[in-house]
Symmetry: C2
DNA sequence: CTCTCACATGCGCGATTATGCATATGGCCA
DNA sequence: TGGCCATATGCATAATCGCGCATGTGAGAG
């Protein structure tokens, strides 16, 4: 298959754009954090992360029970230009702003720079639903 | 619909990439010239040109029997970055190079900077098939 | 070992998309 | 006006895509 086209096709979806936007600004984010930030069902985030990874946009690695995603360290120059273009959308897109706000709140709850859903439930932060609860909230 | 996504989706097709690549390098090109350069059936070029136009990538205008397309003069900064990214693909893609070679030969046949298929047939240039002949050659 | 939690994925469905054929449109010319 | 040429488009079909549901997988905790 045409690799370049695959890379570009991966950008043609709002959910994937939102994922890329967040991941471009943070060093790495785990799936449950992304699910909370985007407020989408877990399987949906996972599927789109898969597409981005297969297209060469992302790398993932496991740490304990959590899987962290980050922008690939092996992007081609071509892709860096594309990322810059997407960055230009940041001010104009309401969804990006909201994602960033939620992600910011979520990432503040990390301990030692790591995702910590377990701690969240102990803190009892009702404002930070677990991925499963977020999944149930998702109606569309 | 999400306009940004529509713009990006338009890039996720090899034929459309080839059209954009040519149009980025020439001031304007008419449909029959594009058909010869890409060696695709006329209806295929026309359809993809429609998609690009609807997404805000191209503008078209009629001159006599011919319709000329060019890169829109109202691109957003966002889109200029995207074009630059596509330009980076130029050296690596064999299809781009061949398109450009064929387009170069074809555009040399212009008179007064205008497409002139009629003249081509009078010249009898067998190396430059008309769009209808190119259509018949197309097998896939 | 078993239970739980985070994440991935097989499957079916409805929607969208690309393609090819045939034909319509619209301008030019005789 | 009729015919030709460049281009666009209606239609049917096959392929692809995103979604949702359900379930599978794999790691850590008790």
């Amino acid at each position: 298959m045409d690799r370049d086209v695959e890379i570009l096709q991966a950008l043609g979806d709002p959910t994937r754009l939102r994922l890329l936007n967040l991941l471009e600004q943070a060093r790495e984010i785990c799936v449950c954090e992304l699910v909370d930030a985007l407020q989408v069902p877990q399987y949906k985030a996972s599927r789109h992360l898969q597409v981005l990874t297969n297209a060469g946009w992302l790398e993932d690695h496991r740490r304990g029970k959590w899987v962290y995603y980050r922008i690939s360290t092996r992007l081609r120059p071509f892709q860096h230009d594309l990322l810059r273009a997407i960055g230009r959308l940041r001010e104009g897109r309401e969804d990006f702003r909201q994602d960033e706000a939620r992600a910011g709140r979520r990432l503040m709850l990390r301990r030692d720079g790591l995702c910590c859903v377990g701690l969240v439930s102990k803190i009892g932060a009702a404002t930070v639903p677990t991925s499963r609860q977020a999944q149930a909230q998702e109606t569309r």
